[in-house]
């Protein structure tokens, strides 16, 4: 598919650092818990841009569980300085809220729990802003060989079953107008043992819009295998970048050696 020999596209695979934001600071927890501050939003955004990140996801992890809207002032601060695409997630539960974030300069908005609670919101956002702006984030938990959607994952005490199978939800959100899907495999999140290639491969089969892998990145080989084996469009990671375990230029050089198309 993308970028390999004989393909009909030269689209590069995307490397996407994810910055979890709490109270205006970038934080990271293990398995969604024990959050600690890792840096300033604008500084980190620019550092990743300079290192060759293809896109950024900025996720306000406090927003959704506490039922408040993402504070848009930091969105505009980033939009003023950054010249790569970025997506804002967290607490966007209305067309008006999405409009504020997009008008502040974000390229895309990502919705997760509000889409589960009100699936029609996906279609309303797609109609207003176009599918290309509308990313649906899915937190998926593997249980006895099956995959289930969880909601309100920003706060472990409020996390609940969404009552949906992951593949069923992936199909449904595309019908409703999602332009991209970020699949976060919760069993892998924060533990750095690799992406859930098996699950992502299953999701890829039913996903015609761009698919972004999330959860589990710990080594350059993990990126290579998720691109080569699950054919995802992008790979998202946080701690390996924030803690400088993997430098993006080195990662891209490695991926090029593996014949995976990446932007220089």
């Amino acid at each position: 598919m993308n970028g390999n020999a004989g393909s009909v596209t030269d689209l590069a695979r995307r490397i996407i650092p994810c910055l979890d934001v709490r109270d205006g600071k970038v934080v990271k927890g293990v398995k969604f818990r024990e959050h600690r501050i890792v840096g300033d939003i604008v500084d980190l955004s620019m550092r990743y841009r300079d290192q060759g990140a293809d896109e950024l996801v900025l996720y306000d992890i406090t927003a959704s569980p506490e039922a408040r809207m993402v504070d848009v002032s930091w969105v505009e601060r980033i939009a003023r300085v950054i010249d790569i695409p970025f997506c804002v997630a967290g607490g966007i539960r209305s067309v008006e809220a999405a409009r504020r974030v997009l008008n502040s300069g974000a390229d895309k908005i990502s919705i997760n729990s509000p889409a589960i609670e009100n699936p029609a919101l996906i279609g309303e956002l797609a109609k207003q802003f176009g599918s290309q702006c509308v990313v649906v984030g899915i937190d998926s938990l593997q249980l006895d060989g099956d995959y289930f959607v969880k909601k309100l994952t920003g706060d472990p005490d409020k996390t609940q079953d969404a009552g949906l199978g992951t593949l069923e939800w992936v199909r449904r959100v595309q019908e409703l107008g999602a332009g991209e899907i970020v699949l976060n495999c919760m069993n892998q999140d924060g533990v750095r043992r690799g992406y859930d290639v098996q699950q992502l491969r299953l999701v890829r089969e039913v996903c015609r819009v761009p698919l972004i892998a999330s959860g589990g990145a710990g080594a350059p080989e993990h990126f290579a295998s998720v691109f080569a084996e699950a054919q995802v469009d992008g790979a998202l990671a946080a701690s390996v970048f924030h803690e400088a375990m993997i430098a993006i230029p080195d990662l891209k050089q490695y991926l090029r050696q593996q014949n995976i198309a990446v932007r220089p």
């Binding site: 993308n2 596209t9 689209l11 293809d54 505009e76 010249d83 819009v209 761009p210």
Partner: protein, 207 residues
């Protein structure tokens, strides 16, 4: 002309997220005006036609502002970005609408094929096709950030091309008009260079 002597008008064609284009120009030392005012657009040194949303909605907005007749007659450098580039063409298959008719071709949907994601979203490689001042210091094979499902065919107007399912024009030019299918404001250093090159283009009159 120094950056501070330029007067850049960004045409209000509806849609959200105009700020990313505004901020990109501000990083180049420009303070653009965002307007649908005919006189302001006519007297600007450079005109930007952005576009987010659908071709039909944007054409409707331009019609209401009385700009459909004005834009093709502009003589200063004009750049259409993303949907704004598609509007420079004769018509679009997206909603089957007539567009501004500056470039004689039709915008068609990218092919839906197994293994190809639609929308075409992400960084794709571009090949240089024809010489143009917009390409100053731009290297063959450059990567740029695309987000679209419809695209312009190849033709004499093609300045650069890319491919996703089929080859398509990623940069076009015709007279004083330039169109860019990808988002220069989101294409890192390459995008900044292209916008800077655009600001150095001169009006047709007096060249």
């Amino acid at each position: 002309m120094a950056a501070n002597q330029l007067s850049v008008a960004i045409i209000n064609s509806g849609g959200a997220n105009i700020n990313s284009v505004v901020f990109a120009l501000e990083r180049l030392g420009i303070e653009p005006v965002f307007t649908a005012d005919r006189d302001q657009i006519r007297h600007a040194s450079h005109v930007v036609l952005p576009g987010v949303g659908s071709a039909a909605a944007a054409m409707d907005q331009l019609q209401q502002s009385g700009l459909v007749e004005l834009i093709p007659d502009l003589t200063q450098p004009v750049i259409g970005i993303c949907l704004g580039m598609q509007l420079l063409f004769e018509s679009s298959a997206e909603g089957d609408v007539p567009c501004l008719g500056i470039i004689p071709a039709r915008i068609e949907a990218l092919p839906v094929e197994a293994g190809l994601t639609i929308p075409h979203m992400g960084w794709n490689r571009n090949a240089l096709v024809n010489q143009h001042a917009i390409l100053s210091d731009i290297e063959d094979g450059f990567y740029a950030y695309f987000v679209h499902s419809y695209a312009a065919p190849m033709g004499p107007w093609t300045v650069a091309r890319s491919r996703h399912g089929r080859e398509f024009s990623s940069i076009v030019s015709h007279r004083n008009f330039v169109g860019i299918q990808f988002h220069p404001e989101r294409s890192a250093t390459v995008g900044q260079q292209l916008l800077s090159n655009f600001l150095r283009l001169q009006s047709e009159v007096g060249v």
